[in-house]
Symmetry: C2
Subunit: 582 residues, 2 copies
Amino acid sequence: MQGLRQYLPILDWGRSYSRNQLSNDLVAAVIVTIMLIPQSLAYALLAGLPAEAGIYASIVPILLYTVFGTSRSLAVGPVAVVSLLTAAAISDVAQQGTMGYAAAALTLAMLSGAMLTVMGLFRLGFLANFLSHPVIAGFITASGLLIAASQLRHVLGVEAGGGTLIELGETLLPQLSATNLVTLAIGLPAIGFLFWVRKGLKPMLRRAGLGPRLADVIAKAGPVAAVVVTTVLTWGLGLEERGVAIVGAVPQALPPFTLPDLSPALISQLFVPALLISIIGFVESISVAQTLAARKGQRINPDQELIGLGAANLGAAFTGGYPVTGGFARSVVNDDAGAETPAAGAFTALGLAFAAAFLTPLVYFLPKATLAATIIVAVLGLVDFSILRRTWAYSRGDFWAVAATIALTLGFGVETGVSAGVLISILLHLLKTSKPHVAEVGLVPDTHHFRNIDRHPVQSDPTLLSLRVDESLYFVNARFLEDCVMNRLAEGSPVENVVLMFSAVNAVDFSALESLEALDATLRRRGIKLHLSEVKGPVMDRLKGSHFIEHLSGEVFLSQYDAWCRLARQGQTPGPVKAAAE
Amino acid sequence: MQGLRQYLPILDWGRSYSRNQLSNDLVAAVIVTIMLIPQSLAYALLAGLPAEAGIYASIVPILLYTVFGTSRSLAVGPVAVVSLLTAAAISDVAQQGTMGYAAAALTLAMLSGAMLTVMGLFRLGFLANFLSHPVIAGFITASGLLIAASQLRHVLGVEAGGGTLIELGETLLPQLSATNLVTLAIGLPAIGFLFWVRKGLKPMLRRAGLGPRLADVIAKAGPVAAVVVTTVLTWGLGLEERGVAIVGAVPQALPPFTLPDLSPALISQLFVPALLISIIGFVESISVAQTLAARKGQRINPDQELIGLGAANLGAAFTGGYPVTGGFARSVVNDDAGAETPAAGAFTALGLAFAAAFLTPLVYFLPKATLAATIIVAVLGLVDFSILRRTWAYSRGDFWAVAATIALTLGFGVETGVSAGVLISILLHLLKTSKPHVAEVGLVPDTHHFRNIDRHPVQSDPTLLSLRVDESLYFVNARFLEDCVMNRLAEGSPVENVVLMFSAVNAVDFSALESLEALDATLRRRGIKLHLSEVKGPVMDRLKGSHFIEHLSGEVFLSQYDAWCRLARQGQTPGPVKAAAE
């Protein structure tokens, strides 16, 4: 039973489900459903898919996440960044608008679902950590800009496309003169209205005396108002005949049963994009889930979350959807609206199923410009260049990783951008550890402490060179330590003993072991003994397993002070104090 | 002048060149020349090039290394592993035996020369450190096996080829019945003789009363004896007509002036292989140079070595050669024979130029089986599986990196093998640091020291959780620490203060900073304060630059003991001693 419950969190919260929780969950579901209808249509459009795919991707996936997920308020479905990644991946293998395009979206969802599930079963949730915070922030910001730029064509009523800022500019700019002014007259006010709803409406409602909760709900319903007003206008004024692109006929049906195309050629083409989508989707989802859980002192199990998201994506693959993940905006709304258990998600799914079966005729006259406006306003909220300033102030390495991620995402598309960001941050980390800080230390008078002789007034002994190594030793920096020691032993130096202080050395790999052996041999030829001090337990256990310790010319001291007492000429009597910071 | 001398080491040793050095260098040059003639022919054969390319690659490159290199005894020219890599790289773009094949070899040498030079000018010598010692050892062992297997066809007198052990087996085994027995009757005894020369001749000569130096020189001349005997036999007995493949006509000329093919398509195809060849060649060369220099207390400048090898490869590109590097065997012979300055290399080049101009007719009847025998015996000396045992005993991570490198090199070829080895060792290192050792520490009674409560009998306080973090904090492990702390704070724990002891934290990157902020916020919500202790200077400088320290709920203590004195309930009075290792 414990095994089953581990994989089915619903068994935990389901058995104590109360009437009070039920009513809270129902209220949250109504609010989220209203918000999700236009959002789902819009993101499907962004992914290059028929509008109904967005609704379908919100029904069965949510139900499956309810069963397998661990977050109490995460809302799963299509999200902006994953929709953009989906468009980028499928555009390489099929033409937008064709059957092949929609089929490839199913394959992508299936691959992603399978990968997430496997990662969850093998407990590989930590793989998400390879995306550093600055890389994620830079990627989200650049993706937001790309998405907004890609939606401009719907607001202008022209044809344009592309996966990079340059391609979008090149296809869009020549069309500017062909702008459909009626479309623009819908799109621009919609954008303005939605920005105002976002920034100005809630404070205004509060001033008008509404409670914070109600003001918030009304503000969140803003997009629905834009949808209703522009749809009615388009229908009433016959704007379709004036060139306003509309959503048109959306099938009035529950999600269909679909089979993804599993041809080996397609799978091999979509494998890497699916991996990227899985990892980025997981990172987005887990960040939201952990943020919301922390507020209430709940805990999220990342490996079970992988299984939950994997099930959701497999569900999307078989019910006409496309890759999904836990979305930020919808989860926050869900949480704010009072959702207490994943059952709120299930009720949302029922609401959307009702909409799919009965309400789709209502969106026939919905202008695409309105959907584009909701996307633009939503994603511009993701754009945050402050990460550049903050990383610049804290660490140049992180800054360059963000800057490269943003520039490459805008210039070469989302897949190149995020892959490069990961590689650059790993490379910069390796470079940083390739030349570790090595400080010569001396005894702080009247204590047992040793400090950097360049920063502190300390005692030293010309025959004893004590070096504190501030990094684990491994292949990337193994040779550096050798060079570093030899560079400090100029011709004719009086040094007879070298002590390496290992208090900050957390590991010594095989390459570093061989370098230490080589260093010992080189020093021995010059009549100098090599010693170690303050070696940590796990490192010492390992060194003892090799023959290094028994062949070492010198000794291993428990503390640097013991080494000083044994090796310094003046023993424990204070020697000349070296001046600080020369 | 200092600037010029930095890039032209010849100006250093050249101005004090003495008559005594001259005579020593001359003796060494004669010995190395005799050894190099068959070796150069053999390695050209291994690279799939005409025999003379091996000689040409040994003349101008050596002269250029003499001018730009820093090692006093390194001998530059064709080597086994680089020859194999060359064959693997060019086979993908041209058919062996065609003009295009030889032209691509020149392009490869030029690309490699340009890369090495640029790396030297930008001081990127440390890039070689990304090849860990175990990966190099595994790669060399697997390459040795591949090379020996690829030469079997010459010993058997059949046609076969391929870049992996499987391909070699598949093409060779069906031909076994077609073995040319006369060729085998030359090849097998040659292999046996050369093995005996390597292992048994020198001790025998010593027992016969010869001095160690002379015995060594005679043993090194073994391959020349094999060449002379088999050439004379083939000529005298007319074995060519019995199907024995011979070297045939080699142009009797000084190295020609050649222009590499610089078409963009070829360059883009050869770019990655050239980078691999450059880095592997550099690693091999610098290892040899440093080993030999250490014996004499000399120093090698890795960045200037890059320039020296770069010049040598550029020279090879314009004089009918192919990629070269500093070879192990030839350099050791050069050093043993008494070479004192790089001038010995220059004299070797003159000797080889003389051979190219006048002696090539002598090798007309040299059987390819003999050359194959010299290669087989030379490379089997590189095969050393003990690295598997040694890494297994020391560290499983290193073991898996070696094992994968060997298996992938044999199964998928040299380029895949070494690339995978590098990636695997980087990945394993990142994984190792992704879940750092975090120990709960307590006060060792009557001292100021803190140790792991699971290993030592120490004092602890239920309201104070002290954790020593044994790793730098960066994006890969940032979230781990958060989880780690939260997992130790079970529901209802009496902890009021958490102290993170940072004595082994050498860096905190931006992702880790954000995780620490998130941890502080989460703890604050539970009414728990977060403190740091023993933060190193460089880490503290950085944290002060952010707002983390000022917003921190707790304090930063200079030592863990200070933290204990302030925060522990019992202050400095000893509390209950926790039992060791429960």
